[in-house]
Amino acid sequence: MIESGNPSLSLMTPLVGAAGIVLCGRLPNLREAVTLVTAALLFYFTMGLMPAALSGEAVRVELFEMVPGMPIVFQVEGLGMIYALIASGLWILNSLYSIGYMRGNQEKHQTRFYLCFAVAIFGAMGTAFAGNLFTLFVFYEVLTLSTFPLVTHKGNQNAIQGGRVYLGILASASIGLLFPALVWVHHAVGHVDFVLGGILSDAGLPNWSLALLFFLCVYGIAKAALMPLHRWLPAAMVAPTPVSALLHAVAVVKAGVFSVTKVSVYIFGYGTLGEFGGGDWLVYMAGFTIVTASFIALFQDNLKKRLAYSTVSQLSYILLAVGLWVTLGPDSEVGQFALIAAAVHIPAHAFGKITLFFAAGSIYTADHKTEVSQLKGIGRRMPWTMGAFAVGALAMIGAPPTSGFISKWFLLTGAWEAGSGFAITIIMISTLLNAAYFLPVLWQAFFCKEPEHHDDASSHGSHDHGEAPWPIVVALTGTALLAISLFFYPDWAVELARTLIQSQS
């Protein structure tokens, strides 16, 4: 048997699943069964890593050396565990949703779709459990490449254009900025292992190099969508909705913020970051992104675009929290709140945003509507969908009883104690803006009358549609319930996040 805390099974499962998907390519039902079973198994195996992550006594799994002296290493720890859990857990619901969506919309190349999905999850798992920066970089790129065919799935001019922006920004940033940062760390320290408290403190780098290095890392990880490197996210919305949902609300963007957090905690460490004011800088950049992206979201009529900009803004909450943590310092009681906020916001936002995307896709499947202005009265036709949408919207705003409230609570506590007027102002403005761009959608959906139809040709079928296919409804109800449940049972995420602190002090 494999010892506890060994993530090998979690890494192998999606790959084996991918092979299975290819083999069953000609039998759609069997192929989808393979996807679902793989996802379930993956979640089960990942859950099994929980005790090791909580106790902080996970084994270090060293595979072969890619370059002499530079092994591929995996190690389970709290932050990665949170990310892995949501990625694997939501993959189950997402697969269910995909089945409904892909069949409902009669998409082509479904085998390629499920294959790339499985490989992308493999990349996400590798990123989550990476034991050194090198491994993280490798899997980060696996995730970039494997999602490209998903983004461009439709193969039309729009998709090509979107894919170009997507890959162009992500690949250029990671190869042009993150890669030199990786080599630099290796050159300065001699290894790139993740160690709580950071490894750069003894490297003797001057402050300006540390600042530059931090800059390279934060912008090199363009998946975190810090402005101005956020353009890929709206561009990637050309993808089919399940892709937007899991990859651009969960796996890809969370890989970004997760990596930034991981690098901040495990490579730089509090002391080093504090020395050159990296925290303040991050707080300001994230604050700017939060407000600006929310403003842009306000003016998007395309529902998925609006969600995309909302994601850009929400991701920066996590970066803001990391920045606050640095400003506060690990010794202060409240500094911990900021780091917990960062960690907890990963699942909190994931549950809410995936629900919103599922709802958007559900509307598209049932009625082929993509714009916010077309949604008048749709709440009566699709009560489940729009009900879930409401839960997701509340999570984004941060209202109880949803997941968003938990992380915002931690974040505000941290900001308050830090006396950071800037952060508090940002959070308040952003909350108002969130409400301003989500509540009108709900208002239209539930309280406006459906407009009379004039010409039947352009809106065929829109008179007599009800809910989307059942797999879609089950999936989005499930994620909405998750978003609510995190409000009542946030302990697992908080406990995992606490492991980052306990071993630190």
Binding site: F64, E65, M66, V67, P68, M70, F137, V138, E141, V142, L145, T152, G155, A159, I160, G163, R164, L167, G168, A171, S172, I175, G176, F179, P180, V183, W184, H186, H187
Partner: protein
């Protein structure tokens, strides 16, 4: 056992002599597929011999020799042609550096020969096929010979053999495109200038040292007093550097390369891109590192700044040029010049990491570019040409070939899990070690340009609509697909684990820097 020992002993000579004789015999193999089959056999055999030769060089470590009272580990295998002593005869000398280059040249020669069968059948008239393979084999003999010989004049002779045959091979592309003739002529003129420069350089070295044996040459140069005052030596270094740069197509002496690669027959492009310029780099290693000594040639003459400048400009300018081309073969040709820039960058940094990066990239780039040119050759075979419009929509029609091409492209960019990533890992590290961060910037800008020129092609392959010719096409024959996949597959393998390539390059770099560093201090 007797026989095996005999072969082991004569192996350095056999590696050259067997293909030389067999190459000439190719003429008599008929006009059908005989010459091809015979060449496959010959190059397969030569490849096997170079593998054995590598083993022998590796085994040297295990056999310390008693040298007076101290134990010393021999670093090379010497073979004296006709048993003539080194002052008069020709010495063949295999050490850690050229053993690996021999392996690459022979291995790629074998794969491209297998690959060439169908493509040559289509592109070269059947009345000339036996001649084509004769010339082809002689090219490879020349390249192997340059690599294995320990005699400076012999280098020149073999260089001329390989160059003249390469001009011929390129010109044979004329039945597909008449511009092959002018491309060949241009290369002939520039190549001859380069070769004469090398000859002059060797001549001056002979004047100073009185010997043509490279090892002796190096020794007496190291014993030289006041080398900085010695004008003859300075001139020799200058001639050699320029001549070698021309041969390896270092920017801005690369003007012959894009046309030559574009209009040559497909198989020839694959062979040249993977071996010819690499052997040029090898010659530079041999002359600069083991004969003249890096300290003198880089620091005293301060050529390293000049080489770094050329390499950097080459990376930037040629990667940029590659973005603007419409013929995919030409995109790859410009990219090749840029990649030579990467190789020379590591070479001129003159640190262990740099040299290791340079050697790793020689191996990796040979596999990548060779494989990609092979994939394009398959396109030419099925569709008729290799412009961007010809590749349009081929992703469905030729999935294996285009998959290999795409994987090669990712490797050029330097995505992790591809060989290109390993090269960049070494090179960026070397630049940082040397404290030259601006080189890192150039290197990475080159990579980002590579994203653009690779992705332009990839987009067209997978999202374009096939043209009329492409609609009638199907996957290339397996003799073309299999070697392509082996090359690209190897490059991916060496990207996933570079324990062998990286470890060996580091060891070779250490050997080059410690073994020959000693003398020639200013």
């Amino acid at each position: 056992m007797e026989l095996m020992n005999w072969i082991d002993f004569h192996l350095p000579a056999l590696v050259v002599v067997i293909p030389l004789v067999a190459g000439i015999l190719t003429v008599f193999c008929g006009k059908r597929s005989g010459p091809w089959a015979w060449s496959c056999l010959v190059h397969g055999f030569v490849f096997a011999m170079t593998i054995r030769l590598n083993q022998l060089v590796q085994n040297l470590k295990l056999l310390p020799v008693e040298d007076g009272s101290t134990l010393s580990v021999p670093t090379h295998i010497s073979y004296f042609m006709g048993s003539w002593p080194r002052q008069w005869g020709i010495e063949l000398r295999v050490d850690a550096l050229n053993a690996i280059i021999l392996l690459i040249v022979a291995g790629i020669a074998f794969l491209t020969t297998v690959y060439s069968g169908k493509s040559v059948q289509q592109e070269i008239g059947s009345d000339r096929r036996n001649w084509f393979y004769t010339v082809w084999t002689l090219t490879i003999v020349g390249l192997l010979g340059i690599t294995i010989t320990g005699d400076a004049f012999n280098v020149y002779v073999l260089l001329e053999i390989s160059s003249l045959t390469i001009y011929t091979l390129i010109a044979m592309g004329k039945s597909r495109d008449r511009r092959a003739l002018t491309a060949s002529l241009k290369y002939l003129i520039l190549g001859s200038v380069g070769a004469s420069f090398i000859l002059l350089g060797i001549g001056y070295l002979l004047m100073i040292t009185g010997t043509l044996n490279m090892a002796d040459m190096g020794e007496s140069l190291r014993a030289l007093e006041n080398p900085t005052e010695n004008r003859t030596l300075l001139v020799a270094v200058a001639f050699l550097l320029v001549g070698l740069s021309l041969k390896m197509a270092l920017f801005p002496l690369h003007m012959w390369l894009p046309n030559a690669y574009t209009y040559a027959p497909s198989a020839v492009s694959a062979l040249l891109s993977a071996t010819a310029t690499k052997v040029g780099v090898y010659m530079a290693f041999r002359f600069i590192y083991t004969i003249i000594g890096p300290v003198f040639s880089f620091e005293t003459v301060s050529s390293s700044e000049l080489l770094l400048l050329c390499a950097t400009l080459g990376i930037l300018v040629c990667s940029y040029n590659a973005m603007t081309q419409d013929n995919v073969k030409r995109i790859l040709a410009y990219s090749s010049v840029a990649q030579i820039g990467y190789i020379v960058l590591g070479f001129a940094l003159h640190t262990q990491m740099g040299v290791a990066g340079s050697i790793v990239h020689i191996i990796n780039h040979a596999l990548i570019k060779g494989g990609m040119f092979m994939a394009l050759g398959a396109v030419v075979y099925r569709v008729g040409a290799a412009r961007l419009t010809d590749l349009s929509g081929l992703g469905r029609i030729m999935p294996w070939t285009m998959g290999a091409f795409t994987a090669g492209g990712l490797s050029l960019i330097g995505f992790p899990l591809t060989a290109g990533f390993i090269s960049k890992w070494y090179l960026v590290q070397a630049c940082l070690e040397a404290g030259r961060w601006y080189l890192v910037v150039a290197l990475l800008v080159g990579s980002i340009f590579a994203i653009v020129y690779v992705w332009r092609v990839v987009e067209i392959i997978y999202f374009g609509q096939p043209n009329d010719n492409a609609c009638k096409a199907k996957e290339a024959p397996w003799t073309m697909v299999l070697p392509t996949i082996i090359m690209i597959g190897l490059s991916l393998y060496f990207g996933i684990t570079a324990e062998w390539t990286g470890g060996m390059s580091e060891a070779t770099a250490q050997f080059l820097l410690t073994e020959f560093e000693g003398g020639m201090q200013p």
